[in-house]
Symmetry: D2
């Protein structure tokens, strides 16, 4: 159970963070959608506000915060009305940022007032986790969901602005993060850590978490060995140089189709300069490919092909979670968004960290856990309807917030997704 | 370990069956490919022969059976050379049936001779199951794989000729099976049988089976209840009449896109006659929709939406297998291809049968079992590279052969597949 | 005005020719549609019969020849009811050839009877040309249209069976025409013949002709010079070898898109054998590229690019017609279908022939002539609605019938069409 | 021959006008590309500057104005180097407007200096029209071409900003032009004016004009009658209300496919408000459909279908030009961009005006005139390579500049284009 004070503080923190994030943008960038997957930053700002506005709708009559049309900012909730098609978000130039910022202010004020004034039983009438019911009487659950939702969009924002600026020619690409990236000094050898056979608890056992993390359940998992660090650019470069992108025998059938159709031959944001040296685009600008840094912006197909080429494999999401729990992986020293690097860091010797840096592709398709129940009412479409033909990623990235990530957290994307901070950790039997 | 005598007998039986199956076809039908998924019957006849020809290649030099080009009849094996694109199979009119039948005869003769003459150590040098190595010295494994491969294509043939004839106008559609279909007499109520919580063995423990059924492994499965019969046309018609195809809230997101794009409003092969009565197309001709028969030719998306509408869900493939093992489901009295009905039968009272009639969609994406190893060498691409964005179906259908199906058998198709004999069995917690 | 006797004779001749043409086909070939543009031969046979069946509909009540469904064999006439989509013609295996041949017999008998029995005023109540009215009282016009329609489909048949057999591997391609092709002996130099400035009559002045050939009108045409023979394979090979397919500056913008998308580098049916020598596929089988023969199976885009590369241009359709009329080009000694070669012949010295061999691309888009009126009633959609984004070809080909072609004849295809017997004649100013 | 003084003045005027036009834009609008055909306004500003930069390249070594990459702003000139694909123009956020405005300033300064300083023989060494050669010695021709090019893009700008703002919801669409639109008072009946049979000169006889307007040539044109005013919204509404969009018999075959695929049922920018009344979006904001104004934003297909429904037809481009010349249509009192209305005006009684208001679709495909020669060198791709599958429009629109339009001016767009100010004038025989 969360206190009003903590909830108010969390709410204000996350809402302010979104505003701070857009400060480095130029005039055009808030409105640009370079591909269907990448929503314009202005849309993200309005959409996260719309989510809180729906909470107002569920709790207050005539709240007066209805100043922008739901039609434009509902993402995919069939139950919540018609929507502007996702592919058209980049055609909207008005409402402009000034309207969207005004919208945020009005909604924020109403939400803060609502949190403060609602009576105790409505603030937290029941245990604010799964299963819940939306509507009057469960406000703390609703607000926590809205906060987590906005944190997801903040992470998306970083991958989106990275992609938006990537569209420009190198000489016109500006770094988003002016901080100089730390240099990696040493090249860390990898080894595999044995995770013993046993029965592990998978999923979230209590507290606010997404519906897809419930119910926690026991699973028997056979012994396996997991890499003590992420796959690096140097590791992946060997695959590239060995012709990995040209040999169908390393690839899943769909992956091979994807690679041929898109004519891929390296991770996204890798390119060669005129001297044929590998460079990469980062939120800190273009730089030389650092062989010690974790590889990122690979699709599941590339991760899977790399693993097969290596003679290893990717973990299942259950193995990943079992390993993280067995190894008692801490969150505290991870490279998450709070470290303000926005790029994965080369691993230091000795320590195994599974949280932060890059999301780790697992071989598990995204499916419901035993006993899964969708979030109630209007947000029932949050997760469940997407449990089809997607792969689970685990562990958060350098763009994920510390109070958003959990060992049980299940991220998911289609197997051909490359614009996320996604990477690779291998396992062997 | 299989004996030479049994293997020879199995080989001859399956090879003859393919020839018998094409007897009812008209001149054109062997060559027609009405959609990319449906290969022409002549192609199937040649492709299954090509598979045995590859076994000759692996075991005999200059065998002399190389009379048709591999290029046309290799399906998807990157390792085994270039291929005519799958979508172009329906453009090939030569080699014609006469060449293909001659090809079959030559290859059959050489295979029979090879089985008879090879020495014992090469016939069965090692345990002929997983893991194996292709090449000299493992013939019994190779031939068994070829037999099973041909049985799969025989099942495909039935769904393909059903689809090919469906393209014609009703007045020009000829029944493939002249036998009169048995009439269903009673409408059987359904109930749910409890499958107790426990640890179940999933997968094949010994004998020849596909690589995807190995390794057998233990899984803890929570208690659930499974339907004692398949979902019927009558059950499904209620969903149709309740507007199930028009309500996005029942559907997975991709399913809803699929249904809207294809403008679906009933299972494949259902249609209304001029009096607005529901009819269906079967291999026995057009007939009135029989409400007591199991529904079939539904995609995974339709099965999933139906389950959600029902307040139930589909089983995982592990639950399905656990139930079949727990209930000691027999194969002997199933409606399989040997019963020569080629259509699912209405369930009789009292008995629960999970084998035959229709393949049952499970909610499990097709993934490797723990410790999975692909078939060796040339047939390593048989299963593994397709473990991506497909759903597992279990139990065989009225078009599956009795000595092909097993409780551990894993069929798999993309979620939008409708031309297979696929159906629905629900579970609840 | 045509006599009954002549009309009966023409009708019987053309109907018999269609039957003779399919004799060399194997079982499958009548049903195959290798691409949307290429209709199955069986469909052509039924469609041409359907056209005469519509004439029965317009003239006789309850004629009893309605034994196959219009739905399957109406091509594109919106006014005449719903149709099986063109892309699905290759999915129809029933009605099979036996039904279609029976359909032809019934319709033929009724048409012959109708021609014989109708009274004079209904046979030919008005001048049987433009403008006409369909319905009782204009039978000779209708039958002539049906005959010409079938002749067009006979020409299509040759290009279709050529394309159908091309889909097979070279070792399985059978010649349609068993006659040995004549060998070209001499390489004829080309020269340009001056066509004087003047006023020319364009279009058909009397007799049955398509609506698109009316009204004849006067046009002032400036002096130009036209090639005295067709462009040969040898001429075109120089363009190929000069990198013509790789230089965008020779191409129309749409042509360049087309060439890049389809990865073209030679005319259709050209290929290199294992020794890298150029071969071509003909209805007489595969043979060495004969440098003296007219190039054929080029799209308008290739013809236009070749002309630009040559420093010349293609004629307008009016220039072509003016030249043919000025030069008094005869039809009698042309290489048309009656010569049974089915392949363009190398030009002999001295003579200029503009009829036969290959259709000649002109630079004219297909547009109505001044005063154009569509054919009446049901066949109004024959030509008019296609006057959009197509190019006119003139002169007939080795697959065109002698009593079908005229100097004023306007053929038309989209600019990317390659499966027709299309070729090139250049002009300069 | 143009004087330096006049050329300098024209250059400055047109360059300033482009800057004035973007003043009403918000921050985002310069960068938005709502569909492939609509380039972002910022791109237009840079592209027109790039065109003048190429003139600097051709005339001066090391001119120093090369501050933005050609790659981004070359539109379609294969000869002038690689290009950012047209569909990606809306993904470029940098160079931003500030860079583009700086680019314009630098190039303007250099061009002004070049015009002033070049010697006479290089300014105008030959008659500055067709045919010309680019390179030193023909500056006045080059600059005139650049000016006309920019005027074309200014017209495009108006249609683009109209389309960009249309993407927003009605309540967020801002008028570009704050001037109140004049109200139409009277409904003018139409009549048809006879244009006598005769020989007319078609094309430009002297002065700077596009290559596609040369050579002027004589054409015999039969008598026809042309509408004395444009087709109005009121006229077109009758077609809409008569089910014109639902009857295939009015449409060209490709047009019918287009209308069905796009589900069209009215001109672009027409919509119904909540009371079901017709409204239209204009650059002056949303307003009631004015039945007396000329209809605009119709595709050629809609124009052609309307004409057929009316029992009339569209003119050929030659008929249009003959009529304008015969009727001695003045330009002086036309509704062109200088009138600052940016919307077609209802016709006044008595006068026939064929210039301005809306571009008039003709039935002529865009083809070269007899004796056509492309512009020389780098700008040879300006017009010629697009002479394929487009239709000619004549007469200019309310967005065309007075010193850009001519009677002989040939505009051209694909037949499905709707975002231009295109309209309809009928003819009858």
């Amino acid at each position: 159970m969360i206190s009003r004070k903590k909830l108010l503080s969390d709410f204000k923190t996350v809402r302010k963070a979104s505003i701070d994030m857009i400060k480095p943008l130029n005039d055009a960038e808030p409105y640009i959608q370079p591909m269907a997957d990448v929503s314009p930053p202005a849309w993200n700002l309005a959409h996260t506000t719309w989510f809180f506005k729906k909470i107002l709708d569920w709790n207050i009559k005539n709240h007066g915060a209805d100043i922008l049309p739901d039609y434009l900012f509902n993402s995919y909730y069939e139950k919540l009305g018609d929507r502007n098609p996702r592919t058209n978000r980049g055609s909207i130039t008005n409402p402009a940022m000034k309207h969207i910022l005004a919208y945020r202010k009005v909604v924020d004020k109403k939400i803060i007032s609502l949190i403060s004034k609602v009576n105790d039983s409505e603030f937290n009438s029941q245990q604010a986790v799964w299963p819940n019911s939306v509507g009057k009487g469960n406000l703390s659950f609703q607000i926590q969901t809205g906060i987590n939702h906005e944190q997801q969009h903040q992470e998306l924002f970083y991958s989106e602005i990275k992609n938006i600026r990537w569209q420009n020619l190198p000489e016109f690409r500006e770094a988003y993060n002016k901080t100089k990236l730390p240099k990696s000094e040493i090249s860390r050898k990898t080894k595999f850590i044995t995770i013993p056979c046993g029965t592990y608890t998978i999923g979230s056992e209590n507290g606010w978490a997404y519906d897809n993390e419930y119910k926690a359940h026991k699973m028997h998992i056979a012994e396996f060995k997991i890499q003590d660090r992420l796959v690096t650019n140097g590791d992946f470069l060997k695959f590239v140089e060995d012709g990995g992108y040209n040999n169908p025998l390393y690839w899943l059938s769909n992956g091979w189709e994807f690679v041929k159709k898109e004519k891929l031959n390296s991770p996204l944001y890798w390119y060669r300069n005129k001297s044929n040296a590998w460079k990469i685009w980062t939120l800190n600008g273009d730089k030389d490919l650092d062989l010690n840094e974790p590889v990122t912006h690979v699709s599941f197909y590339e991760a899977h092909a790399f693993a097969k080429w290596s003679g290893a494999r990717l973990p299942t999401e259950h193995e990943w979670e079992a390993a993280a729990k067995h190894l008692k992986i801490p969150i505290s020293d991870s490279n998450l968004v709070e470290s303000k690097i926005l790029h994965p860091k080369a691993p230091k010797p000795g320590k195994t960290q599974m949280i932060g840096d890059v999301w780790e592709w697992t071989t598990s398709h995204y499916e419901p856990y035993p006993g899964f129940k969708e979030f109630p009412e209007g947000i029932g479409e949050y997760n469940g309807k997407f449990m089809d033909n997607q792969r689970v990623l685990r562990g958060g990235s350098c763009a994920t917030s510390k109070n958003h990530i959990r060992i049980s957290y299940r991220n998911f994307w289609p197997a051909n997704t490359r614009f996320q901070f996604s990477g690779i950790r291998l396992v062997i039997n």
